[in-house]
Symmetry: C2
């Protein structure tokens, strides 16, 4: 039996990375492919304590097992306000906040709320590969904007705002996935101004901003947003736990109300147990100390990867040096197809993600994304040593004199 | 600032019931408006025990706090197979199952997977009022099919299958929301055959089927589905806990794969903690005993409501007598506008839902939906007594001689 699927979903057959992730369940694989937080940073003890307390209290137990409100568990949205203020977002109330089932649901609801079939959505090229099929599932066209110095290339952005009249501009200004790069203050303000000038909405996706282990914090784009053009999306996936699936959107109350209507049809509300765990976690003051505990772990892993890359990778390789987040982006100044070489790396038990999958258009073949958060420094060193050997062999073979 | 929302979401301004539910937080209100399971049926003790065990085990704790697979927590889909077999669904494997964040997410993903803007979706009139905006959010047209004896009116269904070529036919064959009615075996088989004949997909929504406290079980529609035309959706909301937000879809593996691609963009995966709780709950054999414990509670509440309706409501009132589920449907053989009377009932601290909101087309004004699951027999009796007085007063006032 052959099914006729919708125009939005019919072309989507699953990302390349879905199949890669199935490979990675083998423990002998050193994986730089995922985007998982370090197991050591997951606050198991705190959540054990909190669930114990919740289920020792009949009132809270019953409340979290019963139906709840679409917008969020009572009192939780109010706790997002000080977290937002800490990032420079001021003047908001609970009705500017929607709790969502992971930041990804925020992105999905924003596409649903703003995109008609054929509408344009601008993304930085390269961008989070999960966002591309989300936008495409609403039959939106994803258009790549070139990165520039310190953020988006403002000329290219303005040209494409004029040409495509996009409904949304999607960007990750802090420690971007996949590049690890961060936008400057000036770039953030300029992008926000252009959004107002060309009557569009910016999705500021900020899952990684709290994970800064070097350099100075930059105010979020939403803090420059005088004209209510920015929808700020973040989550507890990288700061508390991704398995709980909880995030939030901060935006003008009319946007939040429309997203809530979309969410009512999508999953009615996020798991009350998850929400009550996070609410209690925030109330107990566990949020910032756990991040403080995590930052040295991520710094050490980034350092281990940078050192190993500089020691083992061929001279044709350059890479970013992120001040936070989970990812390093690398490019080869050579005719290297990183997708082709993937199998040779996997045969030697090391995984990465080929860079081409992160582009809306004109993907280069010579790039890779490396994740350092989910392996310890010893395995990072061992894995990058193997990658260095694999890429050096390939480059040597590809030199004219060595062609077989 | 005015925002231009998508064609799908722009017309949706929230269901009438959203505002009603905000009224109902006052404890003095006797509410027949919601669809909440009885608090006494929520297995607090079992879930306390299970979360205690999960967080006493470092391996499982870490696994449930980390990212997981879109399709479901490892091993959980396999446990859905015997639940399905118990309903008459045979010959399925784990790849015929998708775990979803409540049954509502299953409905949303099915609309997303099959509907293009302008496509028709047939629904029984009246139907679950949450499904109408879900389908409309994908710019589908919802077309009502008349109920007939023992299920859908097959002539009306066939006429509308011919006329509209719908992508989906949505129905709730067990203890329908809002009517409490159940389709006969013959009607289920006939609807399934018509779906094959007219090349469409049936969504069989079955959140209430396990809550049968009288009469004989009827095999689910999916068990008649030789041509893989039925997508069966159910959830643990009414059998375990709605606050956990977990459901499942059973369908042909090509449909499941497409829904999983949609879900990857929607929320990546359902909360791992929720999934691990339900998995452990099923493994421990708590599922059926908790339902067995619940059925007498629901039977008693239904009986209390039926007795009170027959005692207190005006003679112009008729009602269904469900053998399971959560709802009774009532209609007045009189010029009664149940929406108009709502405020008079609320002023006396009793809530119901006006029947007109459950219709895709031509809503009658004289119907109401009454929920009996979330109030105890004493409050049911007291609340229906008040409703009887309110409606009798209104009917008396509306008689020609009594017009003011």
């Amino acid at each position: 039996m052959t099914y006729t699927f919708s125009a939005g979903l019919a072309p989507l057959t699953g990302t390349a990375t879905r199949d890669i992730f199935k490979l990675l369940t083998r423990p002998e694989i050193i994986s730089f492919a995922g985007g998982l937080p370090a197991g050591d940073c997951l606050p198991v003890d705190a959540i054990r304590e909190i669930t114990g307390e919740i289920f020792a209290d009949p009132g809270r137990s019953l409340k979290c097992l019963q139906y709840g409100a679409t917008e969020g568990y009572p009192g939780l949205r109010e706790l997002i306000i000080p977290l937002a203020e800490d990032l420079g977002i001021t003047g908001i109330g609970a009705d500017n906040v929607l709790m969502v089932s992971g930041g990804g649901q925020g992105l999905d609801l924003l596409c649903k709320a703003f995109c008609n079939p054929g509408d344009a959505v601008l993304v930085e090229d390269p961008t989070f590969l999960g966002f591309l099929p989300t936008a495409q599932s609403y039959s939106a066209r994803t258009i790549g904007v070139r990165p520039g110095q310190g953020g988006l290339d403002l000329e290219d952005l303005e040209r494409k705002l004029k040409e495509y009249h996009p409904k949304l501009v999607y960007c990750i200004p802090n420690f971007s996935n996949p590049t690890g790069k961060t936008y400057t203050v000036e770039n953030r303000a300029a992008v926000t101004d252009l959004a107002e000038k060309y009557d569009t909405i910016v999705i500021e996706d900020d899952p990684y901003g709290r994970l800064r282990f070097a350099g100075e914090p930059v105010p979020v784009m939403k803090s420059f947003d005088k004209a209510d053009r920015v929808a700020y999306v973040s989550s507890f996936s990288k700061t508390v736990s991704p398995g709980l699936r909880l995030g939030f959107v901060i935006a003008h109350r009319d946007i939040i109300r429309k997203l809530a209507i979309g969410k009512q049809g999508a999953d009615l509300h996020s798991s009350n147990l998850t929400q009550l765990i996070i609410k209690t976690y925030l109330e107990k003051g566990y949020f910032f100390p756990n991040i403080e505990k995590s930052l040295p772990i991520y710094r050490k892993r980034r350092n281990a990867m940078i050192e190993a890359l500089d020691r083992y990778m061929p001279e044709e390789f350059t890479h970013t040096n992120p001040e936070g987040g989970l990812f390093i982006w690398g490019e080869f100044d050579a005719a290297i197809d990183t997708a082709e070489i993937f199998n040779a790396a996997i045969a030697r038990n090391v995984a990465y993600i080929q860079g081409n999958v992160f582009f809306a258009a004109n993907p280069p073949v010579n790039a890779i994304r490396l994740n350092y958060s989910n392996e310890d420094p010893e395995r990072i060193e061992a894995g990058i040593r193997v990658l260095g050997e694999v890429f050096k062999e390939k480059i040597a073979l590809s030199r004219p004199g060595n062609r077989m």
